[in-house]
């Protein structure tokens, strides 16, 4: 193992060397270098992103020294962008750091061509109005954004990404492979037919893979049942009994039969194409026949060509279409010889499927006038291996989220109901509404509630409390929810007390959440958050909302 391999070993086991390559090629833009921003970036510099740019226009003050790990006393009065860039880069010599002294909104809106150079934007310390401006500027460039924010004991992470494609969504726990037990392909059937269980001695018998046992029994069943699979509960039970009857010793001693019994359902439930693939991917506009837009970026371009080829592969099969086989065979009781032989059969079928998809890829690339070299046979194999788990996700725009006419009402109502039933006044949804009220306060008064330069709650805060509560209720009214929001002056009091303070510890939590989502977005692996996660540090509770 080389040095870089050793250094990154514990993460390579999650996202592989191809995931690491995506990270190493990524250029991250950080807007605002407060603790939430630097903590997020820290968790991306450590695993080895290629490059980052910090944009910030403030100077290091006492507050920064007390809550930001990438600022020290010696830098007091110097630029925050420069300081944090230097101390963050020191974490990992593989990473290149740059900084720009500028107001973030101005940086993003001034010259939008610069945005094309970034893989991902991380926006922190941003009130709603600023986020809207940044979102608007990013839209034409297809650059995803992760928003991270801490406000006293409350934190919010938000993803803005239009169409995000994932090949390796890596569901956990790992679902059962498609073994085609209910609908064996000819090569598997021939292999199974060639095995004479009756002629076996008891040692060989108990080392016969459960796949063979089930395929044989189902063949027998179908012969006796009009070529039909068991469908009713009674029939399924009967089939399972059939498995039990194969025992030569007392039940339980033959592990292969125990496995066959446990997995008998595989013999009567052919694996379906999941709706995430058949609907969300295959019905996506990019999966049609029109030319793919050129600004998609290399990963997405490959993804959609592959997805179209996969769709064609499925459609060409007629009434009972299957996704390509993965070629993976889970471990099961078997002799080495029998297992390896069977593995070869599955592998050969998977290769044949992948070749069929590859041929369709070539056709699509040609028809679209694209470079034939952008997709290799290996790419197709990887894609087919994950055919069940490819995902396309869409995050809503912030401008829609805050528009009562466009927000996802169904999710909102659900969130309100859960909030009321679950954790009452501490519900993460109420905290979300309060934060929005704070932003509204900010846009009205040019400061956040409670920002009065004093440490203690002052008389003037009473006014802020009343104003803030009214704004929160106003938001509730605008959303015209079926059930009322249980907002009280206690909520307003708590948020006035926070006075928009960022506590290091909360920043660390949000930095963790935001960086994890960033890694998922950059590597196109795992499924990203949809769309908002609110963390309530008072009760250590959190919830995701697809608003």
């Amino acid at each position: 193992m080389d040095e870089a391999g050793a250094k990154y070993d514990r993460q390579l086991r999650l996202w592989g060397s191809h995931g690491q390559k995506s990270l190493a090629e990524a250029h991250i833009l950080l807007l605002k270098a407060g603790p939430t921003g630097t903590e997020t970036l820290k968790n991306l510099v450590l695993p080895g992103i290629g490059k980052f740019t910090v944009v910030d226009d403030e100077n290091v003050g006492e507050a920064d020294v007390s809550n930001n790990f990438f600022v020290t006393q010696e830098y007091l009065g110097k630029g925050r962008a420069e300081t944090t860039c230097e101390l963050l880069q020191e974490l990992n010599p593989d990473v290149k750091g740059e900084f720009v002294v500028s107001d973030p909104v101005e940086f993003v809106t001034r010259d939008s061509t610069v945005l094309n150079t970034f893989t991902l934007v991380i926006a922190t310390e941003m009130p709603e109005q600023n986020l809207l401006a940044i979102e608007e500027a990013l839209l034409p460039h297809n650059v995803p954004m992760v928003v991270a924010r801490t406000y006293g004991f409350i934190g919010v992470c938000r993803i803005v990404s239009h169409t995000h494609c994932v090949i390796e969504s890596k569901p956990s726990p790992e679902p059962m492979e498609d073994l085609r037990i209910a609908d064996p392909f000819p090569e598997l059937e021939a292999f199974v037919d060639g095995i004479d269980l009756a002629a076996m001695d008891s040692k060989d018998f108990m080392h016969t893979p459960f796949v063979v046992v089930l395929v044989q029994l189902m063949k027998k069943w179908r012969a006796e049942h009009d070529n039909k699979l068991p469908t009713t509960m009674a029939e399924k039970k009967e089939f399972k009994e059939l498995v039990k009857q194969q025992a030569r010793k007392s039940w339980g001693e033959e592990e292969n039969l125990l496995e066959a019994f446990d997995k008998a359902f595989l013999a009567y439930t052919p694996k379906e194409i999941p709706p995430e693939v058949s609907e969300e991917v295959f019905s996506h506009p990019y999966c049609g026949t029109e030319a793919l837009p050129s600004g998609l970026g290399p990963f997405n371009m490959r993804f959609w060509v592959l997805a179209r080829a996969l769709k064609a592969f499925v459609e060409d099969q007629g009434s009972h279409p299957k996704l390509p086989l993965s070629g993976k065979l889970p471990d099961m009781t078997a002799t080495t010889g029998m297992y390896v032989d069977m593995q070869r059969i599955y592998k050969a079928k998977a290769d044949a499927d992948a070749n069929a998809v590859y041929d369709r890829c070539l056709g699509i690339l040609q028809a679209q006038g694209l470079d034939m070299a952008i997709i290799s046979r290996e790419d197709v194999k990887e894609f087919c291996k994950n055919a069940y788990y490819i995902r396309v996700t869409q995050n809503s725009r912030i401008s829609d989220e805050i528009d009562p006419a466009k927000v996802n009402k169904e999710d909102l109502e659900m969130a309100v109901m859960e909030g009321v039933g679950d954790s009452g006044p501490q519900s993460p949804l109420l905290m979300y509404i309060m934060l929005r009220a704070c932003d509204r306060f900010h846009s009205k008064h040019g400061r956040f509630p409670g920002q009065n330069g004093r440490l203690e709650l002052a008389d003037s805060d009473e006014t802020d409390i009343q104003l803030l509560l009214a704004l929160a209720q106003e938001i509730g009214t605008e959303l015209s929810l079926d059930s009322p929001l249980n907002l009280s002056s206690d909520h307003a009091k708590e948020f006035v007390r926070y006075a928009a303070v960022e506590m290091h510890n909360m920043a660390a939590i949000l930095g963790g959440i935001a960086s994890q989502e960033a890694v998922k977005l950059i590597t196109h692996q795992y499924v990203v958050l949809s769309n908002i996660y609110v963390f309530n540090g008072i009760t250590c509770t959190g919830a995701s909302f697809a608003l």
């Binding site: 993460q11 004991f153 510890n505 660390a508 795992y526 996660y533 540090g537 009760t539």
Partner: protein
Amino acid sequence: MQETRDYIGSQSRVLVIGAGGLGCELLKNLALSGFRSIDVIDLDTIDVTNLNRQFLFRQKDVGRMKAEVAAEFIQKRVPGVSVTAHTCPIQEKDETFYRQFSVVIAGLDNIKARRWMNSLLHQMVETDDEGNVDPDSVIPLIDGGTEAFKGQARVILPMATSCFECSMDSFPPQVHFPLCTVAETPRKPDHCIAYVLFAINKSLSNPEADRIHEGFVEKFGAGTKLDKDDPAHMRFIFELAKDRANLFHIEGVTYMLTMGVVKNIIPAVASTNAIIAGACVNEAFKVLSWSSQSLNTYYMYNGTTGVYSYTFEYGRKPDCPVCNAEELRWSMDAEETLQALMDRLMSDSTLQLEKPSIAKPGLSLYIQKPEALRKQTEANLSKKLGDILESGDIITVTDPIYPAGQNISIIIKLD
């Protein structure tokens, strides 16, 4: 909030157990949350594979003690904070040591150390004659754990909430490769690697395994124990596992997989550690300052598919051997031997013991350590329970997994 910080800074001393992925985050968060007096304990040295997340360490620190380097870094970066490093196993420190702390935060990667710490903090709780807990003797334990994109944080208030031991059955016992599969019907590359490992450790004996063992001795010298951190040893296992895999036409033996199987490596990333350590320090801050509510009692985070988190109260187990005085009640057949009772102790999924010793009032039944005592009591193992116990007798079980003084009482009902 400033006042709270001042209080925390001047009044409390906190102990961080483990200076790894969670530990580095914990120390940073504590230092920047106003804690002024921090201790950290870790017996490990820095390895190059730590650098992707343990951000207080650099390439030049590889080989040095984690606790020392971490303490130096924090003290340098955050003036006014004192971090004291301890570089020994936690089991070597006694009650007087632990008594100094207002809260203990554990960022460990193993269950054994957590059980020990949990048990000791429970033993240290004092009660008056009426059984009321003396609040001054209670040291909260905040425990974090991570694996890949998943993690959990929990608050344990000894004798008030459920404890670590209450949840032992939620940790499945470690999966081991079945010996007969590895020896006779290998199918996966893992089986081939395990074979070489078993052969070196002499857990397997047949001509081929013996040949591997001899090869190891020849190369590294007689009496050399397998060192999982020695690349030469690892390369040896890898090469031989590859040979065995070729023999059986099994694909997929790589150096990376060899490391993973032999060292039982758990994937670890910076982001998850940040989330969980942050949640832990949040709780430490609240528990000491009474400034807010506490986590009740268990927070889990899973970022594998979307973001999912769940907070719930982990209930106390009425027969928890650590936080509840109630005896366990077991029925055994009088005809069964003491060995059968041992087997039951060893396989019990809620106890998960290592090397239990058994006594009844005034009599040692089977004591595993010291060796002389084991030899003396060994003969009892084959005796029938009916000959050495009366139905209703209370036996006392001790185990090295617990601190001295912690034992499990079981009422044995003989049928």
